[in-house]
């Protein structure tokens, strides 16, 4: 087997005080100075650490981030002076898709490179919208690797980007007659979008490219000056110069009427080029995807908005587009249209928009994508709070534009290391040893609507309200 893919994580502490979930409310003025202070006995030494930090005054001095919520101090204080609450600032972070818990979990993974672990069962809602209406399957007694998921006989997360011939033709002497198109293999099914926020300095895009290089993957960039980076996939707008693709193994074009011709031209001077065509998910996506695939596209990159929803087109005089379809449904539609057209196996599908957690990478693949592209999680790795100050031209609370290379790359590497480990856990449980085999493998997913219909339908009848 090829050498095992390994992501080198190491602790990368945050630069700024992270916003923690829990807080102890402390009414010091009533303290009876009984000297039996329960705070000293905090199992996690949160209060001692706070005191030490206050004395040194060199690091963040807030135990909000550290409190584990065991409530031992609250319940043991002699006078019952302590109380506990969820930090309102925490609850204000993000929105209904990029929830505080998702942001916080990605912060933890970026800091430690570790898989988030906790006890006492799953605390969340029964099901949710989008990806949270899908479960993944497990195999009860059979598992593919004989050596554990991290063992010598490993689970591969590699995927291929490029057009694949459906059959090989051989010459009389047994040599391959088919002119095989170029193909690139990357070790994780994740690309990066190198410039998600507009108002940041160019340095962050460079760090994202450096991270992609370290991980062996690529980053899509629309900055011409970064196109020469070895991990860069230049994005070429409808009116931009196709010369950006020269000498590159991969380049991305915005979809346009003449995109296939432009790509054909570019390939004349760069025969090893793999072309990606970027088009939006939406009502016409499946039809257009089939058309592009049939006319010779190598790779299709379908994107939703950053919340993972397709946005219906704006009509003149209307307000912002309304959310329509979640990306998990949109991916399946395009995938199935390509399958129906008999061309699915020939082309590669990249999906992007709203992918926030490693489980969503796996679920995107199960729905039919070959790989995904992410952006916002990379910003979260750099401590972004999704406050949108940058878009309002206000000060960034975590000074994103001032991060240095070592910190930024390590944080993003850590995040991907943790995501990779979690993908292995899910694939191992499913009994799937190859990320390539996840694609469209809906039989290894369980959809809540199906479960309701199959398990509850015979008992309760017709489901009234679909969440």
């Amino acid at each position: 087997m090829p050498a095992k893919y390994h992501i080198h994580t190491k602790p990368a502490p945050p630069r700024k005080k992270p916003i923690g979930k829990y807080g102890i409310i402390d009414w010091r003025e009533d303290c009876s100075a009984c000297h039996n202070c329960v705070k000293r006995e905090c199992a996690y030494s949160v209060y001692n650490d706070e005191r030490d930090r206050l004395q040194r005054t060199i690091e963040y001095t807030d135990y909000l981030y550290e409190c584990k919520g065991c409530l031992c101090c609250v319940q043991s204080c002699t006078k019952g002076l302590l109380s506990w609450d969820v930090n309102p600032e925490y609850l204000k972070m993000g929105d209904d898709v990029w929830t505080p818990d998702i942001i916080s979990s990605n912060w933890y993974q970026s800091e430690t490179g570790s898989v988030p672990v906790s006890g006492a069962g799953y605390p969340g809602p029964f099901r949710g919208p989008g990806f949270d209406s899908i479960l993944t399957d497990m195999s009860e007694i059979v598992r593919p690797t004989r050596d554990g998921i991290h063992g010598r006989e490993y689970i591969s997360t590699s995927v291929d980007i490029g057009r694949k011939p459906m059959k090989l033709e051989l010459n009389a002497d047994g040599s391959i007659a088919t002119n095989c198109p170029p193909i690139v293999e990357i070790p994780i099914p994740i690309l990066f979008n190198a410039r998600p926020w507009q108002k940041l300095g160019d340095s962050i895009s460079g760090f994202i490219l450096d991270t992609a290089k370290e991980l062996g993957t690529f980053a899509l960039t629309d900055q011409p000056d970064l196109a020469s980076h070895p991990a860069a996939i230049p994005h070429i707008g409808a009116t931009e110069d196709d010369a950006l693709a020269s000498g590159k193994p991969l380049a991305e074009w915005a979809d346009s009427a003449d995109v296939i011709d432009r790509i054909r031209q570019a390939k004349l001077s760069n025969p090893g080029l793999i072309s990606i065509i970027k088009l939006p998910f939406g009502p016409n996506a499946a039809e257009r995807a089939v058309e592009l695939a049939q006319t010779g596209a190598d790779v299709l990159h379908l994107f939703a908005d950053w919340h993972g929803y397709t946005v219906s087109p704006l009509l003149p005089g209307e307000g912002p587009g309304v959310r329509s379809e979640h990306i998990s449904i949109a991916i399946r539609e395009v995938h199935q249209a390509l399958v129906k057209a008999g061309i699915r196996d020939e082309i590669t599908m990249i999906a992007s928009g709203g992918i926030a957690l490693p489980e969503q990478v796996v679920k995107s693949l199960l729905c039919g994508a070959d790989l995904v592209s992410i952006d916002v999680p990379l910003m979260i790795a750099l401590e972004c709070r999704l406050c949108m100050n940058c878009r309002k031209e206000l000060k960034c609370p975590v000074d994103l534009s001032e991060v240095n290379s070592d910190y930024a790359v390590q944080r993003m590497v850590n995040l991907m290391g943790a995501w990779h480990s979690q993908m292995l856990e899910m694939m191992g449980a499913m009994g799937i040893r190859e990320a390539r085999r996840l694609r469209g493998e809906a039989g290894r997913a369980m959809f809540f609507d199906d479960l309701e219909r199959d398990c509850f339908g015979p008992i309760f009848g017709e489901r009234r309200q679909v969440v």
Binding site: G69, S83, P116, Y122, P125, S139, E140, R143, D454, I459
Partner: protein, 509 residues
């Protein structure tokens, strides 16, 4: 034969511990923390004339003025049931002539708990464990707020008012339905305790569970961490678990067990192996597991000797040969083909098929596994029950379910969906004072002294107290189950099994 290594021998055998035989009787077992948590907080202003009206008004003893004293001492606020008092005219705030009292919801009440275990469920579980009685309606002690499954399913009681006499109602279930020559084991309540290993939880927790199970003539389970010697007096109520790491599995621990449970998978981490982090692997734990202290201990997934139902049969035969009197249980998780797995387990010779749904579990597990892998138990129960019935073997196997059974109402709904009985884990932990902070795995483990092996932390709880809390919990659960059966006009919990016609799902027509 090797003797059982007991790292806790220094604590002495049970007879020296001064422990009395556990008795099935509810007794007060108050919170072991100084400040109990509750829904309300009482504020008394300086206008208080110390007339004592509030003391007389309150039936819960919230306002406290010791005999012979003029001033009040800190109230027992957590007992307050303001809404009920308002409704029946015994609200101290209204009765106070000086208008000096104020009652507000505590910030704690608004912030503890989660979708599955709401603040109401945690506080009502504590109430049951403390008193052995059912909470009186101030708290929702029946459902959580997950928005699906048990939380959207209701029991539909007939409105004819006819009830059976609670004294005539049986809640016992048989565990051996195979009709073979093995013991006809029955348990007095349709619930037993889930496996939690020595290492994952403290010996105090393990013993409390075992003693409560003994008092209620039901079972507790060793989990995969070995059989501590202090459990031997309760061996008739202990299930020996055989899991993939085979930690602590010995010939004699199989021979002394009335039930041996194969853990193929668990709901907390379906498809993943067990994992005890190094910090919790103390020398005592390591000795029991024949491992090196301080190292992280993994149980692989799956059994590397089992790749088919035929291999599973080989396992079952092995146990049956080593212990000719043991019943065999197969604990599996809930994949798409759980129905096929259940039928296969039966044909391989299992007496009990134990399904562990994906949202439950007590063990530390990757968040990604808890949330995403395998299906919730609510779906698996009817799916499996239907398949067993179609196969014609429903009455020859005992279907036990777990993974998200939080309340007596969940238990009743699970049985009505088609299970024979349930296994609980988190509900026991909450009864012992768990606040569900989820930090069972970090450092030395649980700060509240339940899921830890650190000697300092373990001493936060005693076996007597833990036993009584769990006996109380079962008392309150049985009372609710009997009430449910009585309202259905039933005399036996076995009549409730599979009665899906008595259930209504709020999201369905």
């Amino acid at each position: 034969m090797a003797s059982i290594v007991d790292p806790h021998r220094r604590l002495g055998p049970v007879s020296e511990m001064g422990l009395e035989t556990p008795v099935r009787e509810a007794k007060p077992a108050p919170d072991r923390f100084r400040n109990s948590l509750g829904k309300y907080q009482l504020y008394r202003s300086e206008d208080c004339a110390k007339c004592g009206t509030c003391v007389v008004t309150c039936s819960r003893g919230v306002n406290v003025r010791p005999e012979g004293y003029v001033d009040f001492v800190r109230g027992l606020d957590w007992r307050c049931t303001a809404e009920i008092c308002k409704a029946n005219g015994t609200y101290c705030v209204d009765k106070c002539p000086q208008k000096a009292l104020r009652i507000e919801e505590t910030p704690i009440y608004k912030s503890i708990g989660d979708y599955r275990w709401t603040a109401d469920l945690i506080l009502s579980a504590w109430h049951m464990a403390e008193t052995g009685t059912v909470p009186d309606g101030e708290l929702n002690y029946q459902t959580g707020a997950s928005g699906g499954g048990f939380d959207r399913i209701e029991l539909v009681f007939p409105d004819n008012g006819a009830r059976t006499d609670p004294a005539e109602i049986s809640t016992s279930i048989p565990l051996n339905r195979r009709g073979d020559n093995r013991p006809k084991v029955t348990i007095d309540i349709p619930v037993y305790g889930g496996g939690m290993s020595f290492g994952s939880v403290s010996p105090v927790t393990i013993l409390s569970k075992a003693r409560a199970a003994t008092a209620w003539n039901t079972f507790s389970c060793t989990g995969e961490g070995g059989y501590i010697e202090r459990l031997i007096p309760y061996k008739d109520h202990m299930i020996t678990q055989v899991a993939t790491g085979l930690f602590g599995v010995r010939e004699e621990t199989i021979q002394m067990a009335p039930i041996v449970e194969f853990k193929y998978a668990q709901g907390a981490k379906p498809g993943l192996g067990g994992h005890l982090l190094g910090d919790k692997n103390t020398s005592a734990v390591a000795a029991m597991r024949e491992a090196v202290a301080g190292t992280s201990l993994f149980s692989p997934f799956p059994f590397h000797s089992v790749y088919s139902i035929e291999d599973h049969k080989k396992h079952v035969d092995w146990i049956k040969h080593v212990n000719p009197r043991a019943l065999v249980s197969a604990k599996v998780s809930t994949p798409n083909d759980v129905d096929m797995v259940a039928v296969g387990s039966y044909y391989a010779g299992a007496h009990i098929v134990h399904l562990d749904g994906s949202y439950g579990g007590t063990g530390a597990a990757p968040d990604i596994a808890k949330k995403n892998i395998a299906m919730p138990i609510e779906y698996a129960i009817p799916k499996v029950a239907r398949f067993l019935t179609d196969e014609g073997i429903r009455d020859h196997v005992t279907l036990i379910v777990s993974g998200g059974i939080r309340t007596a109402y969940d238990m009743a709904k699970a049985i009505a969906l088609g299970a024979d009985g349930v296994v609980i884990g988190t509900a026991e932990m909450v009864s012992l004072g768990c606040i569900r902070c989820g930090r069972c795995e970090s450092g030395v483990g649980c700060a509240r002294g339940i899921a830890t092996t650190d000697p300092g932390m373990v001493s936060k709880m005693t076996v007597e107290w833990g036993t009584q809390r769990l006996i109380n919990m079962h008392t309150a659960w049985r009372e609710q189950l009997v009430d449910i059966l009585s309202r259905f006009g039933m005399r036996d919990v076995k009549e409730l099994r599979g009665r899906t016609d008595l259930l209504r799902h709020l999201d369905y027509e």
